[in-house]
Amino acid sequence: MSPGAPLAAGAAGPMTPEPLRVRSLRRETADTWTVSLDVSRRPGGFPFQPGQFNMLYVFGVGEVAISISGDPGRPAELLHTVRTVGAATHALRGIGRGGTLGVRGPYGRPWPMEEARGQDVVVVAGGLGLAPLRPAILHLLRHRAEYGRVSVLVGARTPEDLPFRRELARWQEDSRLRVLVTVDKASPGWTEHVGVVPALLSDVEVDPARTVALMCGPEVMMRFTVRELERRGVPDARIHLSLERNMKCAVGFCGHCQLVPYFVCKDGPVFPYEKLRPFINLREV
């Protein structure tokens, strides 16, 4: 299901990480960092598909699911963008250049880049939801001629909380993309949108029969955005969401990531909305 041989799926067992050195760390926002891992010793680097994630292990501290945020067309570079929220992610941030992380993956069902070929693509990212979507955007840019109109809608809490800010600015200058950015709150001087992500959709021409939507962000934000897309006539099968659940194994063993019939780790994290519709509005699934 995943491209390339998953790390350590052989004799070492699927729960054993491979140590990789931290090549560099780049600050994205006050609490978010992009970590580049050295994969130069791996033949072929670290191939993955947009939307897939890895399990990152911090020596003796813990292991967490983190999306791959780099360019799928450049497997020689392995990037993750991590928000420090708790024990493992703080320790991860603390490792610093030259330190070592354990990695296993790539895991999960990727964004449907094939299915989106020839279609208009609307990318909707909330907060760090942009991390797993960045590889999709880079893929779209690399294969630009194969897709129709591409719009990228990005939301964050404040302008300072936007990850990949410089790159967003560059994309906004790029005539091949339509990039709209909004924040929940801003001080004067901010000239982009203020408001919620679904509101940005009114600025985008949506042809329901040839639009594929890819979205990742807080679940509530996605539910609102789906409603807006439905109002515009986009069928459920064309709306794809990336979900987050507790993950202890990422390989279908631990049971933690279940969402009624699904294992988010292996059936997701990307799901077409038609599969989620019966469950996603229920509480405690």
Binding site: R157, H193, S202, P218, M221, F224
Partner: protein, 153 residues
């Protein structure tokens, strides 16, 4: 040359209404342009206009003493701006600033406001559109106040 701006009856807020309905709603129509940075509404001032935005973006701002100015929401071409004329005391409750050059129709609120001898009730078509608009705004505000991006939200 930018494409010509659509006429009044093509503005999303009025689109689909009959000419009679449009003329019952819209009076004292002015076509206005604002440079970037201009204030369309100023908190506390007399509220007597409904703006139908035709191009550009406007941001709603609130000044909080000690905390400075906060941008609350961006409105853009196709949106409507300014509803404080609906109810007493008919004063703007926010500032609205053009973020970039803005074109708008300004409609005189006195024709829409009711009840007056000439307008005993709000035109039903207008009422439904205002409701729809307010409901959409309410939904957005609900989502916005959830602060969904906060760590652990």
């Amino acid at each position: 040359m930018p494409p010509p701006l659509p006429p009044l009856e093509h503005h999303p807020f009025l689109r689909g209404l009959s000419p009679e309905q449009v003329s019952a709603i819209a009076c004292g129509i002015r076509e206005l342009s604002f440079p970037a940075g201009a204030l369309l509404l100023r908190e506390g001032e007399q509220a007597d206009t409904l703006y139908l935005l035709r191009s550009g973006r406007v941001v709603l701002e609130l000044n909080v003493p000690g905390r400075g100015t906060t941008q609350l929401e961006t409105l853009k071409a196709g949106d409507i701006l300014g509803l404080s004329w609906l109810f007493p005391p008919y004063r703007w409750s926010l500032d609205a600033r053009a973020v970039e050059p803005v074109d708008a129709f300004a409609l005189d609120a006195s024709c829409m406001r009711g009840p007056t001898p000439e307008h005993p009730v709000l035109e039903p078509a207008l009422a439904m559109r205002l409701l729809r608009h307010l409901y959409d705004r309410l939904e957005r505000v609900r989502l916005q106040r959830l602060d969904v991006y906060k760590a652990g939200a």
